[in-house]
Amino acid sequence: MIPEIGHFALILALCVAVVQGILPIYGAAVGNSALMAVAKPAARGQFLLVLTAFGCLAYAFAEKDFSVLYVAATSNSQLPLHYRLAAIWGAHEGSLLLWTLILTIWMFAVTLFSAHLPESTRSRILGVMGLVSIGFLLFMLTVSNPFERLIPAAAEGRDLNPLLQDPGMVIHPPMLYMGYVGFSVAFAFAIAALLGGNLDAAWARWSRPWTTVAWCFLTVGIAMGSGWAYYELGWGGWWFWDPVENASFMPWLAGTALVHSLAVTDKRGGFKVWTVLLAIMAFSLSLLGTFLVRSGVLTSVHAFATDPKRGMFILAFLAIVIGGSLALYAWRAPRVGLGGSFAAMSREGMLLANNVLLVAAMGSVLLGTLYPLFLDALDLGKISVGPPYFDSVFVPLMAPAVFLMGVGPLAQWKKASLPDLAKRLKWAFGVSVITAIVLPFVMGTWTPLLSLGLLLAIWIATTSVVTLRERLTHVAGNSLGERLASVPRSYWGMLVAHCGIAVFIVGVTMVKGFETEKDVRMNVGETATIGDYLFRFDGAQDVVGPNYTAARGSFSVSRDGRETTVLYPEKRRYTAQNQVMTEAAIDPGLLRDLYVSLGEPLDDGAWSVRLYHKPFVDWIWGGCFIMALGGVLAISDRRYRIAWRRQEPAVPAATRAARRKVA
């Protein structure tokens, strides 16, 4: 009964989405405010209906209702409750439902925070989001219904893939989807602006916080996925250039470009056409990512079961949404006109260069991801494109972008002077170059890449200091504290996000330069050394988990004779699917991670063991979280808080003025 309610709620949601996708947009076109007014209640209603459907599926999982095919396929009676709930997005159908739920959450958020928008703009935005939602609801209802029954019911579920039975998996997909789908808001703003024909600075100002929030979620989501791969896959890697990782990285690159280009449109009225295109691109790449993951056109560790009908559906949907938007863009954008002119050497010029580099990087990731498919389609053979391609393309594109990142915030709008910039930055440059050359020698090895990485990281740090110092001399206030306080939060946000990149680069550089690993055979009592650390294997014991049995190894780690920690890596066998998983044990630290994973049992209680010493690896994810923190600071800026507050009282101005007099 409950699953049928969920199914029915989805059908109703589809009906609402159709109404929401058609009436408000038509109303905005003909200026009918009654039709436009439909948007808000429709969006809220749709949110409640999809939430109901989601709740019904969650209930089916919680109650172990194995008469629902999806529940039987992705959970098991032995699976703990929190993983049963996470199993909702453990496979294809449920993750689509999550996608749609998040889309409606964003719609709901738009209805809450859009009182200051003109009625026609708001109804167009919600209308466009409704149209997107139609696609996803139709997709679920036609070819991937999460509520499909299994009659007779299965006695036992097939269980969730053990790889996904992990706390990281509980949060990673919702975060990632919040980011993916969040770009739908910027997309809807852009389409609404194209439809309405008013691409002004106000449009950019409204889009900015939404884009930044989505970008923060995506940043955190990608970082968590990478962290999950690091500790769960048991080979100590953190990024594999897997097609599905690329699918999440491409919208991030386009989104990062969008965040910067929106700043120009907001502040200077420039880049309008380009900003619109980026907004369309960011969301299109999110959709493309969904297609790549769901359709099985590419091989990947993440790929779900292939079903050509589903692939065809998403492809048609992609063609309509993206093709339609790009056609609209080709039709309307020429009339938008250009913003103010600017010299090549100016903040606009540098932001444009940064955008071009980011989009070029995105394009090269896209090419590398789809290249095997292109060759295969042209019958030119099967190949796979791996990390060597991406590494060799990516570094040369990102290095100049990072260099510009240091200069950009110091350059004036419209026209900057190169000699002046050089004078202001000479100390930062000198310090960075000298440190980058000398530091690797101090640490023991010098390689060009190590030096380059450090140079970029220190460059960001030193230029940030210069930027902040100059800013402080321009703001009001006498004491340093007062001046620091009067720097706007959005400015802090930028600095913090940029420093996040520096931290990230340090992590990547140090791990690539100094990590060590060892594959050893260890008997009980034997020791192995890696880095400065001595590992002693104290034997393995059998342990029993809720839905698995495991061999748990015990390793005492010491340094200079002093005990550091004891690590317990596991080799788990999940009973339902008889799958073996390696559960690595990690001792994290600010300056290094120690990582042990059990290989295979050998004779006499010995094991093959893999040991890693990974300096600064946590800085990789730390850097991502700092970037996201920068985004959070930016949207907590005073001007947005004022914007939110201003819309709240729907009180006539006269009344407000009267109140003020009384007060």
Binding site: A330, L370, A377, V580, E600, L602, S608
Partner: protein, 175 residues
């Protein structure tokens, strides 16, 4: 050309390729060896190193050649499937211990069970090169004339065994 049409044009090209891509199977790696005679070899046996194992011994029989190793976790996943298939007696499975330590391989088989009547040892990986092994486990179906009829890359699962391997073996045996 109108520069505003450029994004749309690129997108259309991508969609066309994605459409073609849907009809292809990325997991299908063509093996030039299917339909050709199985490469000959003569390798020492795992349990009796004095004896050799060679495809020539198998003439007139339909059999499976399974490349595995004790260090390979995919082989552990596949192992129960092989045990079931061996027990069913549908087709003999011969093992090729690929780039492995002899003692570790024997421990592995004695611990988890041995589905193979005979296991050859390919410690240098030479046989693997001749058979075009991408990675263990891999399984070849070889017919009475010694021709490779099917190649499975990666672990066998019960469904593949039931829907592909067993019907193919039956058909080959009827020839």
């Amino acid at each position: 050309m109108n520069r505003f049409l450029l994004p749309l044009s690129i997108f259309i090209v991508v969609v066309v390729f994605l459409g073609i891509g849907l009809k292809l199977n990325p997991r299908e790696i063509p093996s030039p060896l299917v339909g050709k005679a199985a490469p000959d070899f003569s390798q020492p046996q795992l349990f009796e190193p004095a004896k050799v194992f060679s495809p020539a011994d198998m003439k007139g029989k339909v059999w499976l050649l399974n490349f595995w190793a004790s260090w390979c976790s995919g082989c552990k996943t596949e192992h129960p499937v092989l045990m079931d298939l061996a027990k069913s007696g549908e087709v003999p499975i011969y093992g090729m211990d690929y780039k492995d330590q002899r003692d570790e391989a024997m421990t592995w088989l004695s611990r988890w069970g041995n589905p193979y009547p005979v296991v050859g040892v390919d410690d240098a990986g030479r046989v693997g090169i001749n058979y075009g092994v991408y990675g263990v486990p891999e399984t070849y179906v070889i017919d009475k004339q010694g021709v490779i009829q099917y190649k499975q890359i990666g672990p066998l699962d019960p469904e593949t065994v039931e829907k592909k391997i067993i019907p193919l073996v039956k058909q080959l045996e009827a020839q």
